[in-house]
Amino acid sequence: MFGVESRWTPDRRHVIIRADAADTRAARGGHSTMTTAVRPMPPESEIRAIVGHQFPGGIYTVAHWENFLLTECTGADLLPDGMVHPVVLFHMPILGSRTTIGEMFALGQAESDYSIGIESYDWEMFHPLREEVAYQIGGKVVAAERRARPDGRPFDRIQFQFTVTQPDGVLAARTTITWHYNRQANRGMKS
């Protein structure tokens, strides 16, 4: 999830369309465009229409093994008293609300996995999360709008919000993911 655009061809070749990260541009002296074939940009009305879309929601329990591996990946020691490392707040809400990263990309009609840029992650933590506790997860689209960069390139700014609630009904955490769905198609077109 960063500013690179590519796609899989029907014969499963991985074709890079555009690398947009500043350091990549510097390395290549400009956009690394290899092909211009991209999916058409969806109408803005279709993007706005996803506001309010709710994921099914469900229960998510972080098992000890999952917290162990997750924490090891961060380079830290396990936290005390079965506390779950806060990095869980990326995938736990997504999977617990019964969606996936791929479905979230598809909801915004992403041109490819690589066409997504991260604007921000906002994690609010009201109570520490614990292993082996069954949390209720909810998630929905709270904002979706078309914008343009200063050079005219369009993108759709889509914001997802998730809640993590304890079994006693107390809100434990709220996360907000804001992604940019970059549109290579109709580049520079005003809409």
């Binding site: 990946c73 380079g75 830290a76 990095v87 991260i118 921000s120 609010e124």
Partner: protein, 135 residues
């Protein structure tokens, strides 16, 4: 803990970002993006044969810094942006400074600017945090 605006937060160092951790993370996240586990796909993007660290993993280095400083469970809020990517074998410092100390509902809080730094001035992740200060 006696702190004031302008104080630095003790840094936390990831000596070398390891590709095998990205692979484990990709499986846990169910993130199929090959840039996190296939060096050849990164090479095609101009990063050389180095995989790209997941955004949440970079964020976790700042969590570790804040936990080491203020204790586990102390973080109330993190807002993070991702101007650049972190690559495997990068040496990454998590750093921060206190911007304000305040009290809310009888709890002392510190607002902080936090970031990851590869080289002086090269900050792939930048954000803010609010942390409960220990007594």
């Amino acid at each position: 803990m006696s702190v004031k605006a302008g104080d630095p937060i003790p840094e936390w160092l990831m000596e070398s970002v390891r590709p095998e951790r990205m692979r484990t993370m990709a499986a846990i996240l169910r993130d199929p993006n090959p840039v996190h586990w296939d060096r050849s796909s990164c090479d095609a993007l101009g990063y050389g044969k180095r995989t790209i660290n997941q955004g949440p993993l970079g964020l976790s280095y700042m969590v570790n810094m804040l936990h080491a400083w203020a204790g586990p469970g102390s973080i109330k809020r993190l807002v993070m942006t991702f101007p650049k990517v972190v690559l495997d074998e990068d040496r990454i410092h998590a750093r921060g400074t206190i911007t304000a100390v305040r009290e809310e509902d009888g709890v002392r809080l510190a607002d902080c600017d936090i970031w990851l730094e590869r080289e002086p001035g090269d900050r792939p992740l930048v954000g803010t945090a609010t942390v409960v200060l220990p007594a």
